[in-house]
Each structure stands twice: as C-alpha cells, then as structure tokens.
C-alpha cells in the first residue's frame, strides 16, 4: 500500500483579483522509502501541494480532494489530530533555513521541544537524542551548537539543523521544499549528499520539491512534472531524463544550459509565459507555449498511463522530435 495517496487535489485562493487556481486535480502516490521529485516552475503549484498535505495553507486557501496518509484522510482533520501527525509522522523542511528557525530560542531548545511534545521524552533524554541527531547530519561540535542561536550559524548549518529537526521523530514522510535553493553550490552539494544518504539509510519517504533538474536527477527515484497545477508527466527518473514523453518535459530539459555539455549557439527556450492562474485555459494549459499544439489541445487531455510506471497528459502519441542529445 502506498504511504501517501493524493487524489484529485485542488487548491485555490480567493483574492481581490479573483480566484487563483493553484493546484487543479492532482493525483499521485508515494511509496514508503521512495523519493519522489516534484518538478515545475514558479506558479506550477508544487509548494501549495506540499502545504495542502501539511494542512498549512494560507487563510484564504480552499482545498478539496483527498490526501490519505497511512490509510488516514488528512484533509478535514481537526487541528489537534493533525498536529499529532505533523512533525511526528510527516515533517517538512523549507527553502529558507534561517527564517524557518525561531530566532529567540537556542538550537537546543527548538530540537528538544519537538521530542518533549511528540514523544513525551524527558528533557535529558531529549537532549541526548538531539545531540546525536546533530551529529548524524554532520554538524560539527553538536554540544556547542545546542547552546547557539540561529543567527550564529550559516545558512548551510541552519539547513542541517532543520533536517535534524525534521528527522528527530523518525517520520515516515519528509517533505523538502527547495531544500538547497537558498544555499551556495558547494554547500548545496553537501546538503544533497546528506539527503541522499539519509534516504538510503532510513525508510523515510521524501517528497522533494524543486525547480532544479540537476538536484532531481541526483536524488529522486521517480519524478512528477507539474505545470499550472496539473501533472504533465510522471516517470522513473532515468526514463524521464533519457526519454521524455511530454513536450513540456522535453522543453525543460532542452532549455537548461548544462555544465557537462557545450550547447552551441542558442538555448532552446520555451517561448512565451506560463498561463495566468486566475484564468486557466480550458484545454491543455501548456498548449499556448507548445511547439506541437494542434486543434485537439483545446480539450484537456487525460493524465493516462502510457507504459509501465509512466504517465502523461498529452494528446500526442509520441513526440515528433527526439532530443538532440541522447
């Protein structure tokens, strides 16, 4: 049985300008121990998906559909029930490590609080566990770090503390929202190796949200590509990169400059801009920018199975072009 089953999830926000349709009927499964990469550009709904799962949507957010975690429906749960799951069975790390930590509490207090709250440990036991966890995320001098405050640590160190905090209760699911985007490349690489190791050694499933195709390639087992709040393509990581089946995936892969390749001349940019989430087109949301759009694309294609473990939302049977480099 899947650890997390998201079915027909929609998230919308009422704003003075109208209703923003952030997530539009998203469905996916996440298995225990698996890392699923949720990829898309800004406004594709990846963060709102995560926040909806965590029950952390903004006040004006409306959510429908179903999110079943270990057989339990999370949507519509009472705040009390939800807070027993959240932080304990599901935890989350955010993009901006410094502002996700409480500046008024020492690192130690913040870590200990998690354990005394969720695990009813005594302070002394909690402290020992916290120190051990800081060691596991390879923060130097864990004992000393416990006494320090977030402003005394660098961004990379804060993100290690966040990861330690998220893993304290040995959650079944870790949601990582752009965990390394705010960090420098050399530090990003440290955090990515750490995440990869943790996913290998523990049975924690990871929902990895990122816009960086390189990070997904290194960490994810399966990838779900999102656009305008909908799934465009889902596939095992190797298949997706070697043989994208959706024009948007193909466009994304072709538009990034790569360090390991000289792309002569111009990059294959995707023309135009993403559609406004206030007024979504009725058909395929990508049609306006798609190289291969035709009449049929005025109707929204189904997100259908095309192969073992592969899904796509596109009327085309196959992409007319193969990528320039295989």
């Amino acid at each position: 049985m899947a650890l997390l089953e998201v079915r027909n999830l929609t998230v919308s926000f009422d704003t003075p300008d109208g209703t923003v349709h952030a997530v539009n009927g998203l469905s996916f499964d996440l298995d225990p121990g698996e890392t699923l990469g949720l990829v898309g550009e800004s406004g594709s709904g990846k963060t709102q998906t995560a926040l909806a799962i965590m029950g952390l949507l903004a006040q004006n957010g409306r959510v429908s559909g179903s999110v079943v975690f270990r057989g339990q429906e999370l949507l519509g749960m009472s705040p009390g029930e939800l807070s027993r799951v959240r932080g304990s069975k599901i935890s989350m790390i955010f993009q901006d490590p410094d502002s996700s930590l409480n500046p008024y509490l020492s690192i130690g207090d913040q870590l200990i609080e998690v354990l005394t709250h969720h695990r009813a440990l005594r302070r002394r036991e909690a402290r020992a566990r916290a120190i051990e966890m800081l060691g596991r995320v390879r923060l130097s001098d864990p004992e000393q770090r416990m006494r320090q405050y977030p402003h005394e640590l660098s961004g990379g160190m804060c993100q290690r503390v966040m990861i330690a905090m998220a893993l304290l209760c040995q959650p079944d699911l870790l949601i990582a929202d752009e965990p390394t985007t705010a960090l420098d490349v050399t530090v990003q690489s440290q955090i990515n190796s750490l995440m990869g190791e943790l996913s290998e050694k523990s049975s924690t499933a990871i929902l990895l949200i990122t816009h960086d195709l390189g990070v997904v390639a290194g960490l994810a087992h399966r990838v779900l590509v999102m656009y305008a709040g909908q799934e465009m393509e889902m596939a095992p990581v190797d298949d997706l990169f070697a043989d994208p089946r959706h024009p948007y995936t193909e466009g994304l892969l072709n538009s990034v400059p790569r360090l390991d390749q000289v792309r002569s001349g111009i990059l294959n940019a995707i023309p135009g801009n993403p559609p406004s989430l206030l007024e979504l087109p009725t058909g395929c949301p990508f049609a306006g920018r798609c190289l291969y759009a035709w009449e049929q694309c005025r109707q929204l294609p189904e997100f259908e199975k095309i192969d073992e473990d592969r899904f796509k939302r596109c009327h085309l049977d196959a992409l007319p072009t193969k990528r320039e480099s295989a």
């Binding site: 660098s154 420098d184 050399t186 690489s189 390639a217 990034v256 400059p257």
Partner: protein, 349 residues
C-alpha cells in the same frame, strides 16, 4: 585604437568596507576587504563570466566598475582613462558607455513609470537635446529589439512577467548605446524556460551591437554557456581566470574544481557515476578571512605553506591565470588520477 586592446583594464582593485563592531558605548569597526587585489581585462565584444559564491565580492566588483561604490586602491581603466578618483559628474557621463542590468527584474523598475518612460529616461539624461519624436522612435525600436511590442509602451511594470521585466531592464540599459554592460545575476531570479529566453536575447544583442559583457552569476552552467572567458572569485580575491573551456576541462585551482564538481547535472546516470568530493565546511566570514590563501581552510590540498602568504595570480603559458602555490603539482596529480580512474574525469571528459 587597436581593436585587440582591452576596453576595460582593472588593476589591483581594492574595495573595502568599514563594518561597525562597536557597541552603544564603544566605537569600533573592522574592515571587510570585499574586493582585494583584483586585476583583469575585458576585450571588445567579449563576455567575461564572473562566478563565485555569496560573499565572494562579485557584486561589489560590478558596483565598483560602475562607480557606485568607491575603490580604496588600484585603477579601473576604461579605454585608457582611469575611473577611480573621477568626479561624480565625470563618472556619470561615463555611464552612458557602461551600463548595468540588475538581478531583480521587477524590483529594479519604478512601479509608477510606464515602460516607455522607463526606457526613455536614460535618453533624456544623456541626450537632453533629443526631440520627443526621436526619443519615441528610439524607444519603440529598442522595445522591438528586446522582443516586446510597441503597443506595450504605455503599460506599467506590474503588468509584465519577470522575464518581460528583465527585457525592459535590458532595453533601458542598451538604449544609450553602451559599449560595456555589466550584468549582475541577470537570470537567477527567472524560471529555467524564461532564463533561456533571456540568455539567448543577451547573446543575440551582444553579437548585433558588438557589446562587451561582464556576466556575473553563481550558476556555473549558465556562465559556461555565455562566456568567452571565466573569472573565479572567492572571498574577494581572484582564484583563476581562463578561457571558458579550459576552466571547465582543466580547472587549475582547487576551488574551481570543487565548484564544478558541486554543480548537479540534469542526468541521473551521470549523477550516480560522479565522484563527488564536496568541500567541507562553510565560507569563512569576510570579517575574519584566513591568512595566506583565503581558500586554504576548505581546500583539500592545503599545506602549511598556504597559510604563510597570499599566493600571486600567476600567468601561465596559455594565458590563463591561477592563484595557487601548488597548481603545477596538482595539475599533474589530477592528470594521473584522470588516467587511472575514468569516473573521476567526469568534469574533464
């Protein structure tokens, strides 16, 4: 003038900031050497990429070239004339020739001005005698050149997406016919599909207008794509300068190598094969940089001698420059490693 002569020559540039470290009762300050002892050339119609992590001084360098922060030492020769120590007014006139494109596309546009007014403003400043009709024509032409339509001239910045705002920023920079454009992280705030559009536009305009570009970015993949030469900075100092291919294929400085090895590659098969040797630790505080080579505290190849003195930026046979006392032995060591371990050559194959 000799066409091969560099348009910009920066020599021993130093930009230092005083940082207050005192308390309410005690005046005290320390000096941050944001840019220290930096020398390089930019040639006509060339793109020089500047890479480095936060705090390496790349943005300060950009601001110093434009005279937005004053240099404490060294010289910035613009077509032979030193910009350091020039009066405000003289410097202002030079900015017709040296323009800047900012990182935050919408934040750098005045929300109360129409796009037409934004693009026209530099013309009004530098060409006060231009008639309204001339300005209008020039602005419309520029809008078209950056891929916007002339009908959008009366709209306001908030009506445009990030990528379009960056096009407006480019139009504003290019409308006065500059020779050198300093681009400070011009695409890092944009989504990948839009980023490619802007990178293509910049490359295209550079070719058409024979511009020199200084392209500052933390994204090595983008820098590799746009640059002719690449300058690598760390904690205010130059680590390495070389042609873009030699930087990527035969990095000579351990820091350059570490940077290249850290960049994730959008290819799961390659990612698994890669020998990733992440650098340990964090970038030291610029308030308290290490003695000698600033990189030595994180360098896997550091020896005692590295702490003794600041390594000079040495010019090698092929014209590339490197600031590392061990670069010769390391080059040989890496070559041997590459010969014996095929996976280690991932960055140099």
């Amino acid at each position: 003038m000799n066409p091969r002569a560099p348009v910009l020559q920066v020599r021993d540039l130093a930009v230092h900031f005083r940082v207050d470290t005192g308390s309410l009762f005690r005046h005290d300050y320390r000096v941050v050497r944001a840019v220290d002892n930096v020398s390089f050339d930019v040639h006509s119609a060339e793109t020089l990429g500047v890479v480095g992590e936060s705090g390496c001084g790349k943005s300060t360098l950009a601001r110093a070239i434009l005279g937005l922060v004053s240099a404490q030492g060294g010289s910035i020769l613009w077509q032979g004339e030193d910009l350091v120590g020039l009066s405000e007014e003289a410097l202002r006139l030079k900015r017709r020739e040296i323009q800047l494109i900012f990182q935050d596309p919408s934040g750098s546009l005045d929300p109360r001005m129409t796009v037409g007014e934004i693009v026209a403003e530099p013309l009004k400043v530098f060409y006060p005698s231009m008639s309204r009709l001339q300005i209008r024509e020039r602005v419309a032409g520029m809008m078209k050149m950056v891929g916007l339509s002339a009908e959008q001239i009366n709209r306001y910045p908030h009506e445009f997406s990030g990528g379009q705002c960056q096009r407006i920023g480019i139009a504003r920079a290019l409308v006065v016919n500059p020779r050198l454009v300093v681009c400070d992280e011009p695409v890092s705030a944009l989504d990948v599909s839009i980023q490619a559009q802007i990178v293509n536009l910049l490359k295209d305009l550079q070719k058409k207008l024979r511009l020199s570009l200084i392209f500052i970015a933390h994204d090595l993949s983008v820098v590799r794509h746009v640059s002719d030469r690449v300058l690598v900075m760390y904690l205010g100092r130059i680590m390495e300068v070389a042609d873009r291919d030699s930087v990527y294929y035969h990095a000579r400085h351990p820091y350059t190598r570490a940077l290249i090895e850290s960049v994730p590659i959008p290819d799961p098969v390659k990612e698994r094969q890669r020998a990733r040797r992440s650098l340990e630790g964090d970038i030291p505080s610029p308030l308290n940089p290490p003695s000698g080579c600033v990189f030595r505290t994180r360098c896997p190849y550091a020896i005692d001698a590295c702490a003794d003195r600041v390594p000079a930026l040495e010019t090698l046979e092929d014209g590339s420059q490197v600031a590392c006392i061990r670069h010769e032995e390391l080059a040989e060591q890496w070559k041997r490693e590459a010969d014996t371990d095929p996976t280690a050559t991932e960055t140099s194959s």
